[in-house]
């Protein structure tokens, strides 16, 4: 299985989740309020508006879905900043 990790500006979290839902992943996990630094500078998350704050989310899915998500999230990350990572994991079934 593939793990898709995404860091995105918090104001765009719901858009990112929409993309996941559309790709019909079986689930996802979100850590709100992570900080970070990247091209767009420091995101300390201390402003009153949700500007300057990131969210970190990941989903586990098969390779095909992962590549689809990676493709569909690109325009959002281009516009709003953020990163998208892919890696291999084993999902222990239960």
């Amino acid at each position: 299985m593939k793990k898709v990790e995404i860091v995105v500006d918090s104001v765009y979290l719901s858009r990112a989740l929409e993309i996941l839902e559309k790709s019909q992943v079986s689930g996802y996990t979100v850590v709100r309020d992570v900080l970070g630094k990247g091209e767009r500078g420091l995101m300390r998350g201390d402003e009153l508006a949700d500007v300057f704050k990131n969210s970190y989310l990941f989903t586990v899915c098969d390779e095909e879905t992962a590549l689809k998500i990676a493709e569909e999230i690109k325009p959002l990350l281009k516009k709003a900043g953020g990163i998208c990572l892919l890696s291999d994991v084993v999902w222990v079934p239960h």
Partner: protein, 322 residues
């Protein structure tokens, strides 16, 4: 403006707490008011101002005079972002001009509250309908800004989603809570306010002081970025508020507003948003640089208004109304 008026304004716990927060960052003390405590304070202040404004409105009723003030507020909320946009276009691209002009077209509730507390301390009163005026003035700038964007930017792909824009403008949390508590205060009147007063009235100044400590910290953190903002924008962040306040005072004089109302109106026009509008701009105009509009509003205009603007606008009003 007399030096003693300036001193009287600065030697107030709320303003000094702001300076304390500012100093905490400049001296690198690691003092912070962690999230979501600032949200608690800002929610508290919005609810308090809404309930109290609604209560005052229930006493005065919605008269022709009130409607006059609301119309003036509406007028300025539309005019300011338009002329601000053209001034900004002298030096900036369309996107940043849109975002900054929207920021200055809208208002800052905390500046309004601090001005109210200043007015209160020198024994001048203002009408509860000024809170309604403030609520009215939050949103239009967002719409105007995006209309400007459509007119002057050449974005073909990814067109503006107007339904979402209107929701962001009129149903963002600040506007919603102010509007809602204004109505609640209005509906429940005297009896309702008596029950809410101990929390939302009596404690108000203390909570404002507490919150301004945090505003000082946030402003302090942005101060390092002021240099990046450039001289043009810094001048803009100080001169535009003064200009807006003067226009407001003249309008208020022309339409014979009461002194306290005129002053509060000038403060509304002079203040810039750092909560509702930046959130909306980040979403609708991602091409604009949030470091610019947040820094300018929070680290230049807000402190200027709190420390110098308020006594300045008051002394002008005072001279004209006598």
């Amino acid at each position: 403006m007399g030096a003693e008026l300036l001193l009287q304004n600065v030697l107030n716990p709320p303003v000094l707490m702001f300076l304390l927060g500012l100093g905490a960052v400049l001296l690198k003390t690691e003092l912070e008011i962690p999230q979501p405590l600032p949200k608690l304070f800002s929610l508290y202040l919005l609810i308090a101002i809404g309930l109290h404004g609604g209560y005052e409105l229930s006493k005065s009723g919605i008269t022709a005079d009130v409607l006059k003030v609301l119309l003036l507020a509406m007028l300025m909320a539309i005019a300011v972002p338009i002329y601000a946009f053209f001034i900004l276009r002298l030096k900036l691209d369309v996107y940043n001009a849109v975002a900054i002009s929207a920021t200055y077209g809208s208002i800052s509730a905390v500046t309004f509250i601090t001005a109210g507390s200043f007015l209160n301390s020198i024994g001048v009163s203002y009408g509860g309908y000024m809170v309604a005026a403030m609520t009215l003035m939050e949103s239009p700038a967002i719409i105007i800004g995006l209309v400007m964007l459509c007119l002057f930017a050449k974005r073909n792909s990814d067109r503006i989603n107007w339904a979402e824009v209107f929701r962001e403008a009129f149903l963002n949390p600040s506007v919603y809570i102010l509007m809602g508590t204004l109505i609640i205060g209005f509906l429940t009147g005297e009896k309702g306010w008596k029950a809410m007063d101990p929390l939302f009235g009596v404690l108000f100044k203390g909570m404002l002081a507490f919150f301004l400590l945090d505003m000082g910290i946030l402003a302090g953190r942005r101060i390092g970025e002021i240099r990046k903002v450039g001289v043009f924008l810094i001048a803009f962040g100080i001169l535009l508020p003064i200009f807006n306040a003067m226009v407001a005072i003249l309008l208020a004089k022309t339409f014979a507003l009461a002194k306290g109302d005129a002053f509060m109106f000038s403060v509304l026009c002079a203040s810039a948003s750092y909560i509702a509008v930046p959130a909306a701009m980040r979403l609708s105009v991602p091409e604009a640089n949030p470091s610019l509009y947040v820094t300018l509003s929070l680290a230049v205009t807000f402190p200027f208004n709190i420390a110098v603007g308020i006594p300045l606008y008051y002394s002008v009003t005072n001279t004209l109304w006598g």
